[in-house]
Symmetry: C2
Subunit: 222 residues, 2 copies
C-alpha cells in the first residue's frame, strides 16, 4: 500500500529560472517552510541519508519529501516508511529539477502542514548544480567510493553548495579516499563550506550534520 | 610533463544528432576504428577500468582515449601514463557528449594511427544515454556501492547499452548489493545485454570483459 502520489513535472522552457526561484523562496520564507535541495551522484546515499535525517528531526518538525527521479517510485516507497509526507516527482527525462518544476511539486504535495521540505534531486553532479530551485539551502553528498578528485571534475556543484556531506565513511577502509586531499580540492571552490564526514548506514557523524541543519532551520524560521 | 592536448567541444544545437552519429560510425567502420562510448556515474571507476583495459589490449591494438569532462585534466593525466594516445575534451558545462562533439574530438585527436578508441563520457546516468555519438558499442559501468536499484531509476541508460560492467566487486562485502536482483531489474529493459562483474582494482572478472571486447573489435574490423 503506497501512501504518496506520483506527479509529472516535465521541464518547461522558461525565460528566467532565477526569478521563479526567488519567488518560490520568498513564499517559503513567508510560510516558514525550510526547503533543502539535496544533490548527489546516483548511489551516493541520498535516500538513506534522508531516512536517518528525518528520524532525527521528526519529533520537532513536520517533514515533507519530494523525490525527483526520471522514473520509478523506489525512493518514495522507502521514504514513506518513515511517516514523512512524500511525493514522487517524475521529471519526464530531465536530468535536474528547476524552480518551476519545484513549485509544481510543492503545490502538488501541499506545504501548509509542513516545517521542513527535502527535495531529493535527480542523481547527477552536473545539471542540478545549474538550477536554483528556490531552496533555503543546497546540500551536496559525495560518497567515499566516488573518490576525492570529484571537486576538480564537477566544480560547479561544489561551488554552489552550502554544506558537503561525505557519506559512506564506514566503507573508507576498502577505498583510497584522502579526506585531506578532498578538502584541498574543495577549498578554492568554496572555502567556507562545512564538510561533514558521516555514515548513513551506521549513523557516525550524524550529530554534526543534524546540529548544522537545526541551526539553519531555526535561522530561517525566525 | 603532459603529453596530451585539451580541446573545447562545446555543444552546438544541431537538427539531427542521429544523422551525424551515423556518418561518424560509417567513417569509423571504413577506417576500421572501433569506438566505444563508455558511460557511468561519477566515481563508478571509468578511468581505472580503462587503464586496466588498455593494458590488456595494447599489445594487439593501437589505442586512443578521449576523456570528456566538464573540467580538469585529471583523467587524461592518468590515462597518459599507459602510453595510449589521449586527448582531454572539455564540454563547456554540458552533461554529455553528442555526435558532433565526438566528431570534433576524433578530428582533434587524429585516428589514422589507431585501431580502438575509447570515449570516456561525462560521469552521468541521464544525459549521455540520450545521445548516439557514433560509437560501435556502448558500454556502461555500474559500481557496487551505487546499488542494484539503479536500472529502475535510470532505465534509458540500461536500455541503450550493449554491455554492462558491474565494477568494484572487491567492495561487495561492505555493501548490500544483490546481483540477482540487479539482473532482474535489467532484464525487462535489455534482456540480452551481457552483465560482467569485475574489479578494476584487483583485475577479477577482466578475462570475461576483455574476451567480449576483443570479439566485438574483431567483428567490427572484418
Amino acid at each position: 500500500m503506497v501512501n504518496f502520489t506520483v506527479t509529472e513535472v516535465k521541464e518547461r522552457v522558461l525565460a528566467d529560472n532565477d526569478a521563479v526561484a526567488a519567488s518560490v523562496r520568498e513564499e517559503l520564507k513567508e510560510k516558514k517552510v525550510f526547503l533543502i535541495n539535496l544533490m548527489a551522484s546516483p548511489g551516493a546515499g541520498k535516500t538513506t541519508t534522508l531516512v536517518r535525517t528525518i528520524k532525527a528531526l521528526q519529533r520537532e518538525y513536520r517533514i515533507g519529501v519530494m523525490e525527483a527521479d526520471v522514473d520509478s517510485v523506489v525512493d518514495a516507497n522507502t521514504i514513506a516508511q518513515t511517516g514523512a509526507k512524500v511525493i514522487q516527482l517524475h521529471t519526464g527525462g530531465s536530468c535536474h529539477m528547476d524552480a518551476d518544476m519545484t513549485k509544481r511539486g510543492l503545490d502538488a504535495m501541499g506545504i501548509e502542514d509542513l516545517d521542513v521540505v527535502f527535495l531529493e534531486n535527480v542523481g547527477n553532479l552536473v545539471c542540478p548544480a545549474e538550477f536554483d530551485v528556490g531552496a533555503a539551502k543546497k546540500v551536496m553528498i559525495l560518497s567515499v567510493p566516488e573518490g576525492h578528485d570529484k571537486p576538480l571534475k564537477y566544480p560547479l556543484m561544489f561551488t554552489v553548495s552550502d554544506c558537503l556531506l561525505i557519506n559512506k565513511i564506514d566503507a573508507a577502509p576498502v577505498f583510497h579516499f584522502d579526506m585531506d586531499q578532498l578538502k584541498e580540492n574543495v577549498k578554492p571552490l568554496n572555502p567556507s563550506m562545512p564538510i561533514i564526514p558521516l555514515s548513513s548506514l551506521t549513523g557516525e557523524g550524524f550529530d554534526a550534520w543534524i546540529t548544522w541543519l537545526k541551526k539553519e532551520i531555526q535561522t530561517w524560521q525566525k
